[in-house]
């Protein structure tokens, strides 16, 4: 079984309220020194068999049509994933 990992980040010019909430919580727990947090998303898509170029191409298309909104998010990775689960 193969796996494709797709990752997104909010575009730099778009406000990231979730990242800001996390940034606010870090020092309360003693994690000081972090000056910015941006929160992205990771999807793991599984296929029967190998991750071929065709599978990757299909994942790339899915990444920009459904999985992400190109208005607010950048796709930062569409790669054959490691087996970790």
């Amino acid at each position: 079984m193969g796996r494709v990992v797709v990752e997104f980040m909010p575009k730099p010019e778009i406000l990231d309220p979730q990242g800001q909430a996390v940034l606010g919580a870090l020092p309360r727990l003693g994690f000081t020194g972090f000056t910015s947090v941006r929160q992205g998303k990771r999807f793991e898509l599984e296929v029967d068999g190998e991750v071929t170029d065709q599978v990757l191409a299909s994942a790339r298309e899915a990444a920009t049509t459904l999985l992400s909104n190109p208005v607010i998010e950048d796709v930062v990775a569409v790669v054959a994933g490691e087996g970790a689960r």
Binding site: K11, E13, I14, L15, P17, Q18, Q20, A21, L66, L67, N69, V71, I72
Partner: protein, 230 residues
């Protein structure tokens, strides 16, 4: 003169939207997300709610519902479409309107009577308002922050496509306090606040807001007047 109101799994305000259409004197026609047919309606309202649980992103899954195929084509062809709240998010996801709606900057759900200025009044949904008119309608959202890149925002402002803007304080961090926008032609309008909840005596914003609580009704009389005229 039939105004279709689409129900998706998780729609919340479809009944109120249909009721507002009837209160305005029109016939509301129930459209179903899984039915790829607009049944000849003269206009469509995409209602508020949490379609598909707002999973992935608000409106992201509903945007691919069967009804959206003919709806997107018809909207590009000039059919009047009003997206309210989740409907606005859906229109942005479907790329019928520019920009996107993200989580409120203060990260809390907001529910209140909201003053707005109606800025674009040559759309089929807003022709009953005076340019710059102040109205008060309910606003209720968790992800109502309107965002777009600077170029898009400048374009919207330059072309007069900002339909409504928040007055007083900005309730959700929307860029340039934008509450609603339209496509270039003006037939497609998206709006975060809820005019359908301000269309029936006694059930709209409190009279202490300085209005009669019916400020939203003209979205629906506007569309009916326009359809009659055509």
């Amino acid at each position: 003169m039939r105004v279709g109101v689409v129900t998706f799994p998780g729609s919340l305000d479809d009944r109120d939207a249909a009721r507002a259409v009837r209160l305005a004197g029109g016939e509301a026609f129930a459209l179903w997300h899984a039915d790829a047919d607009l049944h000849g309606v003269d206009a469509v309202v995409l209602p508020g709610g949490f379609s598909y649980g707002d999973y992935l992103r608000c409106g992201a899954i509903a945007r691919f519902a069967p009804v959206m195929g003919p709806l997107v084509d018809a909207a590009r062809g000039g059919l009047p479409v009003l997206g309210i709240c989740n409907g606005f998010q859906l229109l942005c996801e479907a790329h019928l309107l520019p920009g996107a709606l993200i989580r409120n900057d203060h990260r809390r759900f907001v529910c209140r009577d909201q003053p707005l200025a109606i800025e674009r009044t040559d759309t089929p949904w807003t022709r009953g308002y005076a340019p710059g008119e102040r109205i008060v309608v309910p606003l209720k959202n968790g992800e109502g922050g309107y965002v777009a890149d600077e170029r898009t925002l400048d374009e919207l402002e330059g072309e007069g496509r900002v339909v409504a803007r928040y007055l007083d304080d900005n309730p959700n961090g929307s860029y340039r306090a934008i509450a609603g926008v339209s496509n270039a032609a003006g037939n497609v309008v998206g709006l975060m606040p809820h005019p359908e909840h301000a269309s029936e005596p006694g059930f709209g914003p409190d009279v202490r807001s300085g209005t009669d609580g019916l400020d939203g009704l003209r979205f629906f009389t506007s569309i009916l007047d326009g359809l009659v005229r055509v």
